[in-house]
């Protein structure tokens, strides 16, 4: 019996010929790096101090970057994010982390954009991080699993325990319509299988639609995979993924692929040609409707950014929709590029100018509005966002309502002042 890509990556990481679903393993990282957000790093530092620990398992494997807060500091926190970066930096240096592993604002971005751009997560490798959305790396065939609060222990031990998940195959056939994005495919799947549809399992996305899809779209889908209860999401890497990393890193990597006779607990087949833009309706993350059912809902705010979007493709489609136009006068539209690299590339393409001319606010690469950092929602505002989630209060005031849609849906809605079908604006 063959093995899935997830089982093969885990077997390789633990140095066993094979592992099987349900098995518990102690797994570390080999070719890849552990990336610490310096905003979280100060907490790790405090934890290390409290426990009296004075060692990293391997300082050379540790990367430090301010990645959640950007330039922003929360009034309720005890320290500014510059202060937490200083603390993390000094702590890391004192434990032997090489200087060149410590990055600062201006050359970083949102946490899960970074490892893909810097080559810290690699096809066939393992990407571990304290944040919920690290399955994002699955978009390039890297197994992303979240460490959550066990990050300090991982830094000391160099391994963490994991359960090998069963895999579910999602075979998306056909071809997506223009204006329908990777995100819509994921939300459509969520609407079909529900918020507990893949609990503790790996979602493997395959089929002609996935082959056709950009790396950006795949990253977005894998980022969101946790909302079905999944442990991770993954796509078998193809030539464009290999080329992407070959251009970015000297570190050799060994991509893994699912065997044709691998075992899946379930296989779902969907016709991608029939998927229309999808919108998540507040207050629950699990209520997904086709855009036609919420069209006309008035909005005050729009946001593109976070680890779920804010990539080149997302800014590009927003610019395509907004080119030569002005957004609705009642709407504030925050567009936060996911990283300094994306900001630079989209600037060179003229995308940023288009967005600024349309009246958008462009913020420094960071999580931005997603957890209510930049421009938090005011009372009773109605927002459409392509960020991760819409838990009440997450993006600002409790009474604010957050709809979630693809970057195309967000941009078209910002133009119209109400939720609309982006296919009519392309």
């Amino acid at each position: 019996m063959g093995k899935t890509i997830v089982e093969k990556i885990m077997a390789k990481a633990v140095g066993k010929p094979e592992v099987s679903p349900g098995e518990y393993v102690k797994m570390g990282i080999k070719d890849t790096y552990i990336q610490i957000g310096s905003d979280i790093g100060a907490l790790n530092f405090r934890e290390y101090e409290r426990l009296g620990w004075d060692k990293f398992f391997d300082p050379e494997k540790v990367m430090i970057a301010p990645e959640h807060c950007g330039t922003w500091s929360r009034p309720q926190d005890n320290m500014s994010n510059r202060e937490s970066h200083r603390i993390t930096k000094e702590w890391a240096l004192s434990l032997g982390v090489p200087k060149e592993n410590i990055l600062d604002l201006g050359r970083v971005g949102t946490c899960h954009h970074l490892p893909i751009e810097k080559g810290w997560a690699l096809p066939g490798g393992v990407y571990l991080h304290s944040d919920t959305h690290c399955p994002t790396a699955g978009g390039v065939g890297c197994l992303g699993i979240n460490l959550s609060a066990s990050e300090p222990a991982f830094l000391r031990l160099g391994w963490m325990w994991f359960r090998v998940p069963k895999s579910i195959k999602f075979n998306i056939t056909g071809k997506l319509q223009d204006g329908v994005m990777g995100r819509d495919v994921f939300e459509y799947i969520l609407s079909q299988i529900g918020p507990a549809g893949a609990v503790y399992q790996a979602m493997e996305f395959t089929g002609p639609v996935m082959e056709d899809m950009s790396i950006d779209g795949r990253l977005s889908m894998c980022c969101l995979s946790i909302f079905t209860g999944a442990k991770t999401g993954i796509v078998n890497p193809d030539q464009k993924v290999i080329d992407w990393f070959k251009a970015r890193t000297e570190v050799p990597f060994e991509p893994q692929y699912s065997d044709p006779d691998a075992e899946y607990v379930k296989t779902y087949n969907y016709d991608g040609s029939k998927i229309e833009p999808q919108v998540v309706v507040p207050p629950y993350r699990r209520t997904v409707k086709p855009v036609s059912q919420v069209e006309g809902t008035k909005i005050t705010t729009a946001f593109i950014g976070s680890c779920a979007s804010g990539r080149d493709e997302d800014l590009r489609i927003a610019a395509r929709i907004l080119k030569g136009k002005k957004i609705h006068p009642d709407v504030m539209f925050n567009i936060t590029p996911g990283s300094a690299e994306t900001m630079l590339r989209t600037d060179k393409e003229g995308i940023l100018s288009t967005l600024l001319e349309a009246g958008c606010l462009v913020c420094a690469p960071s999580c931005s509005m997603c957890p209510g950092f930049y421009t938090p929602l005011a009372k009773n505002e109605v927002c459409i966002a392509s960020s991760t989630t819409n838990v009440p209060g997450r993006m600002g005031e409790d009474s604010a309502q957050v709809y979630l849609g693809s970057p195309a849906t967000v941009a078209a809605s910002a133009l119209a002042g109400k939720i609309v079908d982006p296919r009519k604006y392309l």
Binding site: Y24, D77, N146, S150, A153, W161, V199, Y200, R286, P392
Partner: protein, 172 residues
Amino acid sequence: MALKFKGKVWVFGDNLDVDKEIIPFREREMGLMKDGNFGKWVMTPVDPDFPKKVKKGDIMVVGTNMGCGHGHWHANIGIKQAGISCVIAESFDRNFFKNSVNMGLPIIELEGINKVVKEGDELEVDLEAGTVKNLTNKKTLKFTPLPDFLLEIMAAGGIEPYTNKLIAEGKI
């Protein structure tokens, strides 16, 4: 810590989100939990009086996908601080499962638990033996215990005390 508990049952439903239902995100972000006592906020979005009603040693019995949403560990700590000795669920969100073992909150995944337990029942659970006895209706359920190294982490009180143990024993 012995991995055996006896307590009264509190029942909650499916898909409890760590931020929406277990520990209210907004209040946490506003800094209202800076004192580190998440226990007094546990389940308040569902039942505002829950932290007052719950007694030390009580057991939570919930449905599927327990602790879904973001992997915020405050939920696991909060449940422990509120006095809950053990959480039994039809299934767990993986972040919640991981955080529970690593923070020393005993948990049991047991499909069908809601068919033999109702609120107010008295349960006796043994994580090593793999048994849940309902002392009220005399029914017993069995489950496959977690592997020893995970029970060891849980019994040590979480991954950090466990790491300290390894350091003290000169193993790392």
